[in-house]
Every structure is written in C-alpha cells, then in structure tokens.
C-alpha cells in the first residue's frame, strides 16, 4: 500500500466520521427545540397564577416528552451503538437539559427527586442504564450498551433543578404560598448532603456542584425571611387546616 493510498483511506474514514456528526447535529437541533418548548411551558409555574394549574402544566409537559422519545429514538440510529462516547459531546448538553426538565416535572408532581431509572423511562425506554461493571466480567454482552444516560449528565441535570427550585421558592412566596419554600428547603438540603458524598474531580460537574451552595443559601434566606416574620407558622397551620 503506497503512502498516498493510505491517506486516501484515512481521508475516507474521516469524512465518514464527519457525516455521522453532521447527522447527529441535525437530530440534536430538533431535540433542543423540543427542550426549549418544554422549558417555556414549565416556566409558567413561576407566575403567580401558574401555581394553581401545576398539574395541568405537568400533564402537557409529559405529552411533549413523547416527541422527545421519538427524537431520541432517531438519534440512536445515527451512530454505532458501541460508540456512544465517541459522539457523546454532541448530545451531552441537551441530554442534561432534558434530565433537568424531567426532574422538574417529577418534582412538581410528587416533590421527590427523580431517580435515574425514572428519567430513562420518561426519556424513552431505549435509554439503557449505564451500570458500572463493578464485578469484572469478560463477556461484553453482560453489560447493557447503547444509548444510555451517563451518570454525570444525570447529576448535572439534577443540579440545574436545584437552581430552578431556589427560584421557585422565591416566586412562590411572591404568589402567597409560604409552605412550599419550606418543603423546597428540606429537599435541597437533602440533595446537598447527597452531593457531599461524591468525590468529584475538577471537571465540569464539579463546577456545577460549586454553584449548589448559592442555591442552598438563597433558599435559606427565603426560609429565614419567612420564619423571622412568623409566616412559616401561618403556612403550617394553613396546611394543617386544609388537611
């Protein structure tokens, strides 16, 4: 094989790679569009009137996730299943955003943290959970492969949820709901202690995590303002009265 032949082959490989990336970029763009639509929809909860029809908004958002599922299914067909990380960078950001949106919907519905399994379900069953091979296995098929949710992307999405909730705490006070910030505070504090368990490297996730303390601080301030004026007691008795 002559040198020039070799380079022609290599050039072919590179072009094929570029083509795949181009295809991926196209699908990711549609995904980003859907994600923006869901976000716009959910932003409604921050408005005073929005607090009443949270369930309705969640319902609508869940319908949009149907579109996400089809788009992700099409994304999955654009590259070889065992080369997920080769193209990971392309959908990493939008996937984190979708995790956040899914987590936000789930939080608004149940006020709990969405599990990784639940996220993959919302985003479509084709996303297989990435299980770290803690037990050494030689057979590749033992491990679930293909389009999955990377743990770092999941955690990043959750961190976005934290800052969104700190904003929601502020806005719910404005809307006259004094009990929600207290519940959010409990939730974020638990999340914070969860993240404290992780030994993060000095990477992007670590930078995102460093922002969490400001969300915690913000919510603590809201709770402080409420409690110093006795508004939190009012909220508690209100909640008790309702029950």
């Amino acid at each position: 094989m002559s040198v020039s032949e070799m380079f022609i082959t290599l050039q072919g490989v590179l072009t094929a790679d570029q083509d795949i990336r181009e295809e991926i970029r196209k699908v990711v763009q549609t995904l980003e569009q859907t994600a923006r639509e869901i976000l716009t929809l959910l932003q409604g909860v921050h408005q005073g009137a929005g607090f009443q029809d949270i369930p309705k908004k969640c319902q609508k958002a869940r319908e949009h996730f149907g579109t996400v599922r089809t788009q992700l299914a099409s994304l999955k067909t654009k590259f070889p299943a065992d080369q997920y990380y080769r193209f990971h960078e392309h959908w990493r950001f939008v996937l984190q955003r979708l995790v956040f949106l899914a987590a936000f919907v789930v939080y608004l519905e149940t006020e709990t943290l969405v599990t990784r399994e639940a996220v993959t379900e919302i985003l479509g069953s084709m996303i297989l959970i990435h299980i770290a091979t803690l037990v050494f296995t030689l057979v590749e098929a033992d491990r679930e492969r293909g389009f999955h949710l990377d743990i770092e992307d999941y955690l990043s999405g959750i961190l976005t949820l934290a800052s969104e909730l700190s904003r929601l705490a502020v806005n719910s006070v404005t809307a006259g709901d004094y009990s929600r910030p207290l519940r959010i505070s409990t939730f974020i504090n638990e999340l914070d202690s969860g993240f404290r368990l992780l030994n993060l490297k000095n990477d992007s996730l670590r930078k995102r995590y460093d922002g969490l303390k400001y969300d915690v601080k913000k919510i603590e301030e809201v709770v402080y303002d409420l409690s110093i004026r006795g508004l939190n007691k009012e909220a508690a008795s209100d909640a008790g009265g309702e029950k």
């Binding site: 002559s2 070799m6 380079f7 590179l14 990380y85």
Partner: protein, 291 residues
C-alpha cells in the same frame, strides 16, 4: 417535618455555614438512610470506580509515552552505529515491553466504550505509533499502515494472568481469550505527523555521518507524507491541521539539506562535508530548543 424543627434546623445551619465539616456531620446523621442518600452512595461508588480507572489509564499512558520516547532515541543511534542490526533487535525488545503496557490498557478497557477513556490513553498511543512507525521505516523504508499497527495489538490471555487478574473465571477453563486495542485513525495520523520530526532529525544526523543517500530517500518519503496530509487538509480534527505546520517546517529543513548536498556536494570533499552538516544540525537543534 414540622415548621418548628424546620426553622430551628435551618438557623443552626446558617450559623454553621463556615465550619463545613461540622455541618456535614450533622446532616449525615439526619438523613443518611433516606432513599436519596442510598442512591447517592451508589453514585459515589460508580463515580469513584470510573475516576480510578481513568487515573490508572493516564498512568499507563505516561509509561507508554516514556518507553516509546526511549525507543526513538535508541533508534536514532543507528545512523552513527555500525551495529544496526543489534540496535534494531534492542528496539524490538523495547517495543515489546511497550506492547505489554498497552496490553494492560486493553485489559482495563474490556467491556468498556474505548472512547470514554480515549483522552487518557491517546497521548501514549500517539507516541507508540511514532516509535513503531520509525522502526518500521528504518527497516523497510516505507510507512506502516494502521492495520499493521493494530495487528500487533491483539493480545491473547495467558493462563497465569487469568488466575491473577480474573478471579471470576475458572482457571481450569483452557479456553484462550483474545482482545485487542485499536489505534484510532486520528491517533495514527498524529503519531505519523510526529514521526516526520524524527525523520528530519535522522536526515540531518545521517548527513553528519557522511551518508549521502539517506537524505534524498528521506526527503522523498517526507514529501509523500506531506502530500498525504495536504490531501486531508482541514477535514480532519483540529489537532491534525495544527501538526501540518510543523510538518511543513521539517520538510523544508530536509529539502534545504538536500539542496546543499547537491550544490556543494561536488565541491566539498566527503570528510569535510560531515563537518559542514554537523554544525548545521547543531544550529537546527538550537533553533528547536528556542522555539
């Protein structure tokens, strides 16, 4: 949680904002058994496992780089050493040692998506490509292909390793496993681009030793590689285009050396030619050191 507890706990935390350790302890006691904490503990394990693997690979990659560099230095001695054969054998042994390291990398990557850890091992692989292709060039005066490099990176597991590294597999099971590591086209290209720098150095050295034919061979070979890279141009990744400039400089140095050789070769007697070029080589090396 009642509102009383909530506000009390909150105030305490507010004061403890600075001594972080204390705050952490307090919190862990509160809810270490909740489902959220349980899942975060599993995340901790997963992330640690991943980071540990990454670090091990970085270390291996560094070892591969060092050993490959040493092999390249060894191979440079071939221009001045009459015992070419011996040096080639020694380099083969060294490269075999490097391949053992790569075998460990391949072992780490069994069942993993190689691209997940690609950044950790890429520098080592590039250096290995450089060393292997340099040796191959000295032997055959041609460029090694990706296929041939990858052919050497198919490993068979031996029984003893099976026992030490794979406690889960049955040692009586005589079945031999094979696995391989593939050098990616981009790593190959970057390795070859580095190779051209070595060839340039070799060219200057060989003139210094009075070898008249090698420089011309080298310049022709380098030109072929340069043409190849020009063909790829900017379609490749960013790193490839960046190396194109260095490659051009190396080629220019070799071409100038050939020019001098042609023009003044007839004027200067052979034993003096060596002197002319060894000062030239020094100058080039100094330039490299500065830049």
């Amino acid at each position: 949680m009642s509102s009383k507890e909530g506000s009390g706990g909150f105030r305490k935390r507010k004061h403890d904002n600075f001594p972080h350790g204390q705050r952490k302890d307090e919190k862990n006691n509160v809810n270490s058994s909740s489902s959220l904490m349980v899942s975060f503990k599993s995340f901790q394990l997963e992330l640690d496992t991943r980071h540990d693997k990454y670090e091990r690979l970085v270390k291996l990659s560094r070892d591969i780089t060092i050993e490959s560099k040493r092999t390249i230095f060894l191979l440079h001695r071939i221009t001045s050493d009459p015992n070419g054969e011996e040096i080639l054998n020694e380099s083969e042994a060294k490269l075999e040692a490097v391949r053992q390291k790569i075998k460990q990398v391949a072992q780490e990557l069994i069942g993993e998506d190689m691209y997940q850890f690609h950044r950790a091992i890429s520098p080592g692989l590039q250096e290995y490509v450089e060393a292997v292709s340099f040796q191959y060039f000295i032997k055959t005066r041609s460029l090694i292909s990706v296929k041939e490099i990858n052919k050497q990176l198919i490993f068979t597991m031996e029984d003893e390793e099976e026992e030490t590294n794979m406690p889960s597999s049955n040692p009586h099971d005589k079945q031999l496993y094979t696995w391989s590591l593939k050098v990616t086209p981009v790593d190959y290209l970057l390795g070859v681009a580095d190779l051209t720098g070595e060839l340039m150095r070799m060219c200057i050295n060989s003139v210094g030793n009075g070898d008249i034919d090698t420089p011309f061979e080298l310049s022709q070979f380098l030109r072929q590689i340069y043409d190849g890279f020009s063909y790829i141009g900017n379609t490749g990744p960013y790193e490839v285009s960046k190396k194109l400039y260095t490659l051009k400089q190396s080629l220019a140095k070799v071409e100038n050396a050939c020019y001098t050789l042609k023009v003044r070769g007839s004027e200067i007697p052979k034993h003096m030619l060596a002197d002319v070029f060894s000062t030239k080589a020094e100058m080039i090396d100094r330039e490299e050191g500065l830049s």
